[in-house]
Assembly symmetry: C2
Homo-oligomer: 211 residues x 2
DNA sequence: GTCTTTTTGTCTTGAATTTAACAAGCCATT
DNA sequence: AATGGCTTGTTAAATTCAAGACAAAAAGAC
């Protein structure tokens, strides 16, 4: 299970496999073939097999894949077999929405605190998670070994805050601000650019209309 | 400017070009070359030129691209030159967060109503946008020519609601529920799967740690 | 226990995407 | 107005990615 030179396209698909396998597991399905999975997911069986074989052989000829085992293995690949402590910077509506989304917790992502500068929200709590003032962030990050931070603040402040977070020891940034962050290469980054997503939808709408 | 057989990879990048050009425009930059843009954006100049040439020649040899013109043209390609009426189904934290995000409005996406079944929120308003009961959705969609709907409800209800929306006349679905929707091919669809995004971040974090 | 069917892992082929290269054309300067 | 320097649009090469094919291996039937 060597990582490193796995293509981005494969990584993009892995969580979806994981989700489907989780559903199968809940339904009590014990085994599944790449063919059957490919029919459900609308991809080719070949692609599934090739994607998985980037990380090792998880199946057996004549049998297919054991759902529980494969689910667990993909979970390990994605780092879901360990607890990940997180914070959310920005306790506006978006930050609060993220804090409320209990799916993350189920996958081992534990949101430990939110941070904001607005006195209206500092001192309150969301979904049982405390909202602190940003001035307390550095101490919190260091004391609690926080490696993942979600950024849900206006785009003007995002680059500065992101760099500060990295200096504090954060290793992964989940960026919701509509801007690109110039982070050191050793820091993981994943953007959620909602406006761009909506624009793509708009394009698709237009393209379908023109048919 | 023919659309139709443009690859998904190109569409994925277009909104980002649009965002950068918007920033340049705000800063008063009049012209830019593909080389300069590529340096800022971390892609190759060749890719920028080829992406744009899918839609037509917007530049001039020896000069580059006029920022305002190119910005406007990409906007047209993405369908941002017209107003798009939207609704949000689900007025929980996520639905409310989307409703509050005024960037969409700036791009011509006008959120006209939210819908929910929770009596706690029905009758209230978010960011000046009314929250109605789901039972009023059909009439509203038809009366107001709503073509785009965001779905921010639990995954169990999402597929049913999505299909109902399509029957009502909705042509594009922006899906925030962590499930895949089986929609007719003539309906545009764009998923925002936050849990999958977070898993990808987790993978990247793990991969960087292992270096 | 043997034979057939199933299904993986991998190899090969083909397609799509990205990068590189370059002629043609425009700008700017003298 | 002619020349040199840029920069595009486009063609060609290289790379990456996806699909197809198939031998090897296990399961299941008889």
């Amino acid at each position: 299970m060597k990582t490193g030179e796995i293509s981005a396209a494969v990584i993009r698909r892995l969580p979806r496999y994981y989700r489907y396998l989780g559903e199968l597991l809940n339904r009590g399905v014990v085994r599944i073939s790449s063919k059957e999975l490919s029919d459900r997911m609308g991809v080719t069986a070949s692609q599934i097999r090739q994607d998985l074989n980037n990380f090792g052989g998880f199946g057996q000829q004549g049998y297919g894949y054991n759902v529980e085992y494969l689910y667990s293995e993909i979970g390990k690949i994605l780092g879901l077999d360990q607890k990940n402590m997180m914070i959310i910077v920005g306790a506006g509506r978006l930050g609060q929405a993220i804090a409320n989304y209990s799916d993350f917790e189920k996958r081992g992502f534990l949101i430990r605190a939110l941070f904001d500068i607005d006195p209206e929200v500092v001192g309150t709590s969301v979904h049982g998670i405390p909202v602190f003032h940003m001035s307390e962030m550095e101490k919190f990050v260091k004391d609690n070994q926080i490696y993942i931070a979600a950024i849900a603040i206006p785009k003007e402040a995002a680059p500065t805050v992101a760099n500060e977070l990295v200096k504090m020891g954060v290793k992964a940034i989940w960026n919701f601000a509509p801007t690109d962050l110039a982070l050191p290469r050793e820091v993981a980054q994943e953007n959620v650019h909602l406006t761009e997503s909506l624009m793509r939808l708009s394009y698709k709408l237009k393209a379908k209309e023109e048919e």
